[in-house]
């Protein structure tokens, strides 16, 4: 199987010493001159083309976090010992690991696959799911669920359909085929994402404490084994420049920039890895994602404070024409690298053979902290692995508040026309609940399997997804993710905190106790000081918010350069909150199932319409300041919901967010076709706000709950005791109608049909 290329056209370390002045395409590979010079200083010579390939990809923004690192640190610094006491693995590994009790731990993370999903939506989104699932698997966990956070361009733009179709089909194809229930996500349309959709994917996995695995190679003599799919020419469009430099006449000309996913291969890989873990034959493991072998070899060695000797010709190829540089950078999917003690080699082989997974031994771990890679007899890489994997460049880029910011914040909704008559209010309510961002997402979520595994306790359209982790005890977890780019644009600091607050509230609403945070920070170009300012504000907001709520950030991902032409997307920090629930049977549904229950609104409603859905849908307006962040109130509210859930007082709970009370009422009634009679005059008077605000304000720290008659006194007492503002606004009803007194009354079938028609009309 050895590659047919002869070693003579390979750029070796020897050659590099002999030809110090050879021109190298560092610029085409995305390096800065200072970075190229730095590599030469580290090595004491010019890099070989293989080394140049490795450094260029590992020092890219995507892999090195060079622009974000100095800000991400605060997630590890703004913490209390109380916050981190359940963290088994914190930031810096493939994914954080949280102890959830009873010997169980969970690991979760959200990651972006934005740019590939624009070029080739189906494969881009599919491989995005595949990549995040491998990160979770790498920690020793069985992946147990996925979620997807999607942002597309304007719904009426013809290209949006191409992207929506492909992305949703890709997620559905890959996730369903892996057997992971999809338990939630987000779908937002906004023209700022037209040429740059956001496709973020989250995965969560569960493991027993003793099964925890780390990505490190520390014991000299252990074998370095690559297994899974063969290596092909996927996702290395960019390295072609190297190939053409090195092999101008014989080399391949154009390599594909996209990767193709094989979920079947990944499913087999998951089962195979879990069996390897159980047999305790791997000392360390790393998935191959971005930067492929360059990343896996250098990170494993660097994390283990050791080195590695690798024979690159041992890599099993799909295509013999790949050059060493291409092999090092290939992003072929469904591959893993294991560090296996020699004594366990036979056991390892028996398991991978059982699953018919191909593998090859690339080399072994050495004590000297150096990464040596040979191509046949020729040495083509000889580097300190830390300099590739961890000690890359770090930038403190210039920041500047956007020039438009002050004017944007001044342009509030105060002077926008507000509806007065019942007819106008009713019309606006329908316009809002049937707008693409507020309408039912069934068209998308019906393409996702949420049943597989038999452990899904809550999924779409509930506020949070919830899965049972342990069948015996019913211990489970809940996850919600949120981000509002419009809020982020108005105030990135508050925007990040609002995303956190909403995800936190969603988890609390399900009955779970919020425990940890992950994030995917989607921003424009870091080379633009205004974008960098947004990033600085958002990360500070998130870190401060987590400290105030007392839950740690366990990991995340940064995606920069999201822009259409020169125009950056709105800052879109996707925040995921993980909660723990001791018994999933206690979960709180968001829909109404019984008539005759009292409906209460918890929290205070203020006149907060800036950045709201109302301002967008009715007035096509974005300006002012987003709703106030009220983290102390969120905390109290979460604790009250928790207490009420434990006492079994709540028939339902649904958080209020985009679209305000009107949206929540429509969702809660149409879910199970249980009607309601609602009276809002008291709210209007008590909070001294307009009718528009009563219906559509997006004030935070609010939840809509229903309570059976028998629990009423107890529940109201519980809220009053804890100082939670509570207003009775109606009662659920057998009549399948939503009646909002003095405004309008709608048959639920009409509301449901209208809400469910929007996306199919656009995309089916």
């Amino acid at each position: 199987m050895l590659n047919k290329k002869t070693a003579t056209n390979v750029d070796t370390t020897k050659e590099a010493k002999n030809t110090p002045d050879k021109h190298q395409p560092w610029k085409e590979l995305g390096l800065k001159l200072e970075e190229y010079d730095e590599i030469k200083t580290i090595l004491g010579r010019r890099p070989t083309s293989a080394e140049l390939a490795m450094y260029s990809v590992m020092w890219s923004e995507h892999c090195s976090y060079k622009s974000s690192k100095i800000y991400l640190r605060q997630f590890g610094e703004k913490v209390t010992p109380e916050m981190t006491k359940n963290l088994m693995v914190g930031m810096g590994e493939n994914a954080g690991v949280v102890d959830i009790g009873e010997g169980w731990a969970v690991t979760f993370k959200v990651e972006s696959h934005n740019h590939p999903s624009y070029i080739e939506p189906f494969q881009g989104a599919a491989t995005g799911v595949g990549g995040i699932v491998r990160d979770i698997l790498t920690m020793g966990a069985r992946p147990i669920a996925v979620m997807d956070q999607l942002r597309f361009g304007a719904p009426e733009n013809p290209d949006t359909r191409r992207v929506v179709d492909g992305v949703v089909a890709g997620i559905s194809f890959y996730g369903n085929c892996l057997g992971l229930p999809n338990i939630g996500g987000e779908t937002v349309f906004d023209k700022v994402y037209q040429g740059n959709p956001l496709v973020n994917a989250l995965s969560v996995g569960a493991l027993r404490h003793e099964d925890l695995k780390l990505a490190k190679a520390s014991n000299p003599g252990d074998l370095v084994i690559l297994f899974g799919a063969r290596t092909g020419a996927d996702g290395i469009g960019g390295v072609s420049v190297l190939a053409s430099e090195t092999f101008d006449s014989t080399g391949p000309t154009k390599r594909p920039a996209v990767q193709v996913g094989d979920p079947f291969a990944e499913k087999v890989l998951i089962e195979c890895c879990l069996e390897l873990y159980k047999a305790q034959v791997v000392a360390g493991i790393q998935d191959l994602g971005g930067a492929g072998l360059s990343c896996a070899t250098s990170e494993l060695a660097s994390n283990g404070q050791a080195g590695m000797r690798v024979q690159l010709q041992n890599v099993l190829l799909r295509d013999d024409s790949l050059t060493p540089e291409e092999i090092l950078m290939s992003e072929s999917q469904e591959r893993m690298m294991a560090i296996v003690p020699k004594k366990d080699k036979a056991a390892f082989e028996a398991i991978v053979n059982k699953w018919e997974v191909e593998y090859s031994i690339l080399g072994e771990v050495i004590k000297e902290p150096r990464l040596y890679i040979n191509w046949g007899d020729e040495e083509i890489v000889n580097v300190p692995p830390r300099t590739v994997a961890h000690d890359g460049p770090v930038y403190d880029r210039p920041v500047a508040e956007p020039k438009y910011q002050k004017a944007l914040n001044k342009n509030t909704t105060k002077n926008l026309e507000k509806a007065e008559t019942p007819e106008e209010l009713a019309t606006q309510l329908i316009q809002i609940v049937t707008s693409p961002n507020q309408a039912s997402k069934n068209y998308i979520t019906d393409q996702y399997d949420h049943y597989v595994g038999g452990n899904t306790a809550l999924a779409m359209p509930d506020d949070a997804g919830m899965v049972r982790v342990d069948e015996t005890s019913s211990l489970g977890i809940a996850i919600a993710t949120d981000a509002n780019g419009r809020y982020g644009q108005l105030d990135p600091y508050a925007g990040a905190q609002l995303a956190l607050a909403e995800a936190y509230r969603n988890v609390a609403t399900s009955g779970a106790v919020p425990a940890a945070v992950t994030n995917c920070l989607n921003f424009g170009s870091p080379e633009n000081p205004e974008v960098m300012w947004q990033f600085k504000q958002a990360t500070a907001g998130l870190a401060d918010g987590c400290l105030e709520l007392g839950i740690p950030v366990t990991g995340g991902n940064v995606s920069f350069y999201n822009q259409t032409g020169d125009v950056a997307i709105h800052p879109t920090p996707v925040v995921g909150v993980l909660g723990v629930i001791d018994d999933v049977a206690r979960r709180i549904p968001s829909g109404w199932q019984d008539a005759g229950h009292n409906i209460y609104l918890l929290g205070t409603t203020e006149e907060e319409l800036d950045g709201s859905v109302w301002s967008e849908v009715i007035h096509d307006h974005l300006g002012g300041l987003p709703p106030k962040v009220k983290l102390q109130e969120e905390l109290k509210l979460a604790q009250a919901l928790q207490a009420a859930s434990v006492q079994g007082l709540l028939a339902s709970a649904h958080d209020l967010s985009e679209g305000g009370l009107a949206q929540a009422l429509v969702e809660s009634t149409t879910r199970f076709n249980v009607g309601a009679r609602v009276f809002l005059d008291e709210l209007e008077e008590k909070n001294k706000i307009s009718k528009t605000a009563v219906l559509f304000s997006e004030t935070t720290a609010r939840v809509l709950v229903t309570v059976g008659r028998e629990d009423d006194v107890k529940f109201v007492g519980l809220c009053e005791q804890r100082g939670i503002p509570i207003t009775r606004i109606g009662v659920t009803d057998t009549e399948p109608t939503l009646e909002i007194q003095n405004i309008a009354s709608w048959p639920l079938a009409t509301l449901k049909a209208a809400s469910e028609a929007t996306l199919p009309e656009l995309f089916a």
Binding site: A169, N176, F264, G454, A457
Partner: protein, 231 residues
């Protein structure tokens, strides 16, 4: 009662099917695709998933697996076999049941709570249902459109082999609203919807009484245990 649950590479609902067997009072026995030995099981479930990635045609590669050669032989002798979703596709590709399953009419994967009518209760897997009982069972597939030529359809109708039909909504464009079939003997049954996802309150389909409370799928598994006990 030992009920085998086959795992092919790419099978997804094998653990769910095992749980369903357990909740019905049986003992699940895992069977591996590469094995020809059925370990003396009394019945076999071919669970859902994407065996071999569902590449080429759903169930086509799995139908060639060693374990299937034994199952085909034993099924022809009367061993109760239930094919769920991908398992149904494997049964069709193995010619234990007629016809074929093609891409859903709307071209999308569909996951929904589906109402079915049980039109035949004289099978190993449906004897605990009432004739024409309507049940709610989750459906989730990309290629669930049942097709057969006119003659086959006529025979299926005439010989009363159509065991489940979609009610209210035909989600995938199946001919004659066919959701599931049996063979002439009634030991082999296949259907697209997933009874193993409707066996445990809290994790099943939504029902009028309460969210996720549907357990109609349990009767598939109690049926087979009943038929084995009374065999």
């Amino acid at each position: 009662m030992k009920i085998g649950v086959v795992t092919f590479p790419g099978t997804l609902d094998d653990r769910d099917a095992q749980r369903a067997v357990r909740l019905a009072g049986g003992t699940p026995v895992p069977l591996w695709h590469a094995d020809t030995n059925l370990h003396d099981v009394d019945a076999v479930v071919l669970p859902g998933g994407f065996s071999y990635g569902d590449y080429l045609r759903c169930g086509a590669i799995a139908a060639q697996a060693p374990v299937m050669q034994t199952i085909i032989e034993k099924a022809n002798q009367g061993l109760p076999v239930l094919g769920i979703c991908n398992g149904f596709q494997v049964l069709v590709e193995s010619h234990l049941l007629p016809g074929g399953l093609i891409r859903n009419e709307n071209q999308h994967f569909i996951c929904r709570d589906q109402t079915l009518r049980v039109e035949n209760t004289s099978t190993a897997w449906t004897n605990q249902f009432q004739l024409n009982e309507e049940i709610v069972i989750p459906l989730k597939n990309g290629e669930g459109g049942y097709i057969a030529d006119a003659e086959t359809l006529k025979r299926l109708e005439g010989e009363n082999l159509i065991t489940f039909r979609y009610v209210d909504v035909n989600p995938n464009g199946s001919m004659n609203d066919i959701a599931g079939l049996r063979n002439a003997k009634g030991n082999v049954v296949g259907l697209m919807p997933h009874p193993e996802h409707a066996v445990e309150a809290g994790f099943g389909p939504d029902m009028p009484e309460a969210m996720r409370s549907g357990v109609d799928g349990l009767k598939f598994f109690t049926s087979v245990i009943h038929s084995l006990v009374n065999a």
